[in-house]
C-alpha cells in the first residue's frame, strides 16, 4: 500500500512526520581514503635505460643485417636459376623467330614482286647492327 501504511509511527499527525528511510554512512563514518601521490624514486638510472635501449636497438639492427643476408642469398639463388635457363629459352625463341621471319620475307617478296628496285627483306636501319623488327607486336599469336 502507500508508504504511510508501511512506515507509519503511532500518533503521527501527517505524512511529513514519517520516520526517515535514508541511505547513509555507517555509524562512526567511513574509513579514511588515501589520495596522496606515492611515486617512488627508485628504479634504473638514466644511463642504464639509455644503454638498455641502445643495446636493444643494436641487437635489432644486427638481426636486420642477418635477415638481409639470408634474403640476398635467396634472391641470388633465384637469379642464378634464371641465368642458367636463359640460353635455352632464348635458343628456342630464336628458332621460332627465324622460321617466322622467313615466312614474313617470303610474304614480303610476294607482295612487292612488281615494285621495281625493291630489295626484299631487311630494308631496315643502316647502322649494320641487327635490330628486332619494330612492328609494335612482339608475338601476334600470343597477344
Amino acid at each position: 500500500m502507500t508508504e504511510a501504511m508501511i512506515r507509519k509511527k503511532a500518533g503521527m499527525a501527517s505524512v511529513k512526520d514519517m520516520p526517515l528511510l535514508q541511505d547513509g554512512p555507517p555509524p562512526g563514518g567511513f574509513a579514511p581514503v588515501r589520495y596522496a601521490r606515492r611515486i617512488s624514486n627508485t628504479g634504473p638510472s638514466a644511463m642504464a635505460i639509455f644503454l638498455t635501449v641502445s643495446g636493444a636497438f643494436a641487437w635489432g639492427m644486427y638481426q636486420v643485417g642477418q635477415g638481409n643476408k639470408i634474403r640476398r642469398a635467396l634472391k641470388e639463388e633465384k637469379y642464378a636459376a634464371r641465368r642458367a635457363i636463359l640460353p635455352i629459352l632464348q635458343a628456342e625463341e630464336d628458332e621460332r623467330f627465324v622460321s617466322e621471319w622467313k615466312k614474313y620475307l617470303d610474304y614480303e617478296a610476294d607482295v612487292m614482286k612488281d615494285v621495281p628496285g625493291w630489295k626484299v627483306g631487311e630494308n631496315v636501319y643502316n647502322s649494320g647492327r641487327w635490330m628486332p623488327p619494330a612492328t609494335g607486336e612482339l608475338r601476334p599469336d600470343v597477344w
Binding site: E77, P87, I88, Q90, D94, E95, W101
Partner: protein, 107 residues
C-alpha cells in the same frame, strides 16, 4: 596448363617448373654450351647467326632433362609438382629439393 613433367613419349617438357627445378643441374652441366651461346649473342644479336650454338644448348638441356628424369623419376616429378604449385619459389620446396638432390646429386 599441365603440371605433368613429361609428354606422351616420356620426354620431359621444358616448362618453367621443369626448368627451374633442374636449373642448378643445367647451370653446372651445360655451362660450356650456355656460355658459348651467350658470347655469340653478345657478339651479334642476330638470331640467324647463333642458331647452331642455340641447337647445342637445346640438345644439351633436353638431354640433361631426359637423363635426370630417367635417373630419379619420382623425386623429379615431386619437385616439379611442388615448383608448379608454388610458381617456381625455391624456398617453399626445400624438402622436395633435398630429396631430389640426394638421388640426383649436383656433383
Amino acid at each position: 596448363m599441365s603440371s605433368a613433367a613429361v609428354d606422351a613419349t616420356g620426354n620431359p617438357i621444358p616448362t618453367s617448373a621443369v626448368l627451374t627445378a633442374s636449373a642448378k643441374h643445367i647451370g653446372l652441366r651445360c655451362m660450356p654450351e650456355n656460355v658459348a651461346f651467350l658470347k655469340c649473342k653478345k657478339n651479334d644479336p642476330n638470331p640467324e647467326k647463333c642458331l647452331d650454338k642455340g641447337r647445342d644448348v637445346t640438345r644439351c638441356v633436353l638431354g640433361l632433362l631426359k637423363d635426370l628424369h630417367q635417373k630419379c623419376q619420382k623425386e623429379m616429378d615431386d619437385y616439379v609438382g611442388c615448383m608448379y604449385y608454388y610458381t617456381n619459389e625455391f624456398d617453399l620446396c626445400r624438402k622436395e629439393q633435398e630429396a631430389f638432390e640426394k638421388v640426383c646429386p649436383l656433383k
